[in-house]
Amino acid sequence: MSFELRLALRHLIAGGGQTLLIVSGVAMAVTLVVFISCLIGGLQRNLVDTLTGPIAHVSLEAPQRVPRVPDTIPGQPDALVIASRQQRLWQPSTIDQCRCTEAMLRTFDHVTAVAPAVSGQALLTRAGTEKSVRVVASPPRQQDGISRLQDDLIEGNYLRLQNDETVIGYELAQELGVTLQDRVRLTTGAGISETFRIAGIVYTGSSSVDASTVFITLRGGQTLFGTGTLVTTFSVKLDDPFRADDVGDAMAASLDLEVDTWMRQNPQLLTALRAQTSSATMISVFSLIASSFAIASVLVVSVLKRSKEIGILKALGARRRQVLRVFTLEGLMIGISGSLLGGALGSAFVVLIAQIEAPSAVPGVAPRALFPGALIPSIIAGSMIAAVIATVIASVLPARQAADLDPVEVIRGG
């Protein structure tokens, strides 16, 4: 152990209560930063997870067919062409060469699941009650990679779904007053009508899914929407939801498909998340700055208290840099111990508060954490490193003050 380190250590031990105070100051700041950042980070993850869990991160559709307008009519240069663009409401455009496209989509980075689907609007009727719903018709095993439906089931089964069966959202089931094994009728805009038996009821937490989506098999959908063996949509799931726009752009660039992402559908949510993150960052930065000032002032006082010792050290031949090192090391040790303590405390608080459960409003669904904070290693490590750096910076001023002490002044004063 170097002489400077020994000296710094002895100073801190001799400091006793004062050292404890300053270490707790750092620890408190780190606790606050870790706690707030992990809580907000956890809430955000939870929110994004709830929102994007049951839906695709990126969805691709065949472009709508628009009538091509001739610029001129041959032989009639002055003729005026009147044409209208009309979206084809009932017949969805379809993606050819389904398997080939699917395989291609899997080659993009971050893609964890791809599901081909026929999707569209339909009218769901049950004993005189009508409800407009979105139909997602997809092979259950593949769709489960997008929507986790099997895990989110309250009752029934999704993975073994038959062509004449459907899984519907919990809120929709409540509204229609239907339960497992009941039959419902789906009617498309083209007038095709089929009955389906309810094989499962799902609660995803996302009301757009729970209140107005029904899931059927791909074959069932191809019959219902009359697409033959073609599909209308590809749903893509990514390992990181926030890469949806990037991956979507890359897909749009190489495939002739219309790309939509959850991020483009929820711009307000993203803005809110960003605002939340920056306010958490602000709180963190300011609490670290405040603690740095406190540390600096305590260290300045301790240097003043020790000015005689410092003077004598210099008289005995300590170089300026050695004295500088002693007090910077004190700051470093305070920073490290305070960070470790604060990191542990903050993490403990996050874990403790995550134990508080919000009672579930839906029977059959486990209660969720009221404050779903997450121990995010990068945030914890980042806060601790930031605190150590801030403490070392705070100790530079007092250390320089010590290093610049003139031994002659100190000894004359004594």
């Binding site: 152990m1 002895r10 004598i312 005995l316 031949g317 300590a318 000894i411 004594g414």
Partner: protein, 229 residues
């Protein structure tokens, strides 16, 4: 080159001016040399410039004009770090107050100049400094901390600290100023004995004519001028 030819310390036309609101000349053209093995007493009234002279001779302070040579090295040619190294290896200081560090034991305090130089004292250093502490009668106090020592013991620890790196020159600024007469006598005798045993040159500033007269030479400083008695 024989060591006898190099003075322990030498001052040539040494001047020191403090540039405050009114410039004050503290030392006016001092010429002196102290040979290895000499014990020189410096007498003078307070404010006469004794401490300033000692600080300049010990490389703590830079002169305004003139030259100081410690062990043949001209201090004007050295930068701050080199001056620090020179103080560490060639000069020992003993002040009126002991300035020991309370967090360290008697032995660790005495080893302070070695630690500053090397980081960790080696076995040889440990043995040498322990011998010195035994020599000044502190063999049983090695593990005690300064607050547990008497004033005389504290000052004896400070003497060993000044000798820890085997310097050529020890500068003592009223080393007995805070001690009762018995302790004063003991501390002075030890310095004188060590001076005679090791050949380290001592310069001692004092108010005490009786102690001063027991050295080899007495220098008297008055209004920044030095007179040999």
């Amino acid at each position: 080159m024989g060591e006898e030819q190099v003075s322990a310390v030498e001052a040539v036309e040494l001047e020191k001016v403090y540039y405050g609101a009114v410039p004050t000349t503290v030392l006016r053209g001092i010429n002196m040399r102290v040979e290895p093995g000499e014990f020189v007493s410096v007498l003078g009234q307070s404010g006469s410039g004794k401490s300033t002279l000692l600080n300049c001779l010990g490389a703590l302070d830079r002169p305004s004009a003139g030259h100081v040579r410690v062990a043949g090295q001209d201090l004007a040619r050295l930068d701050d770090d080199e001056l620090a190294d020179l103080r560490n290896s060639q000069v020992g200081f003993i002040f009126q107050a002991h300035y020991l560090q309370d967090e360290f034991t008697c032995l660790e305090n005495a080893l302070m100049p070695v630690s500053i130089r090397k980081g960790n004292p080696g076995d040889e250093d440990l043995a040498r400094v322990t011998r010195l502490l035994e020599r000044v009668g502190l063999g049983h106090r090695l593990r005690n901390r300064p607050p547990q020592l008497s004033g005389g013991e504290q000052q004896r620890t400070a003497i060993v600290r000044a000798l820890a790196n085997e310097p050529r020159l020890v500068l003592a600024d009223e080393p007995t100023g805070n001690l009762d007469s018995a302790s004063s006598e003991q501390v002075f005798s030890l310095m004188r004995e060590i001076n005679q045993e090791t050949g380290v040159a001592f310069i001692m500033v004092t108010h005490d004519d009786r102690l001063a007269s027991q050295g080899d030479r007495i220098l008297r400083i008055e209004d920044g001028l030095l007179f040999e008695e």
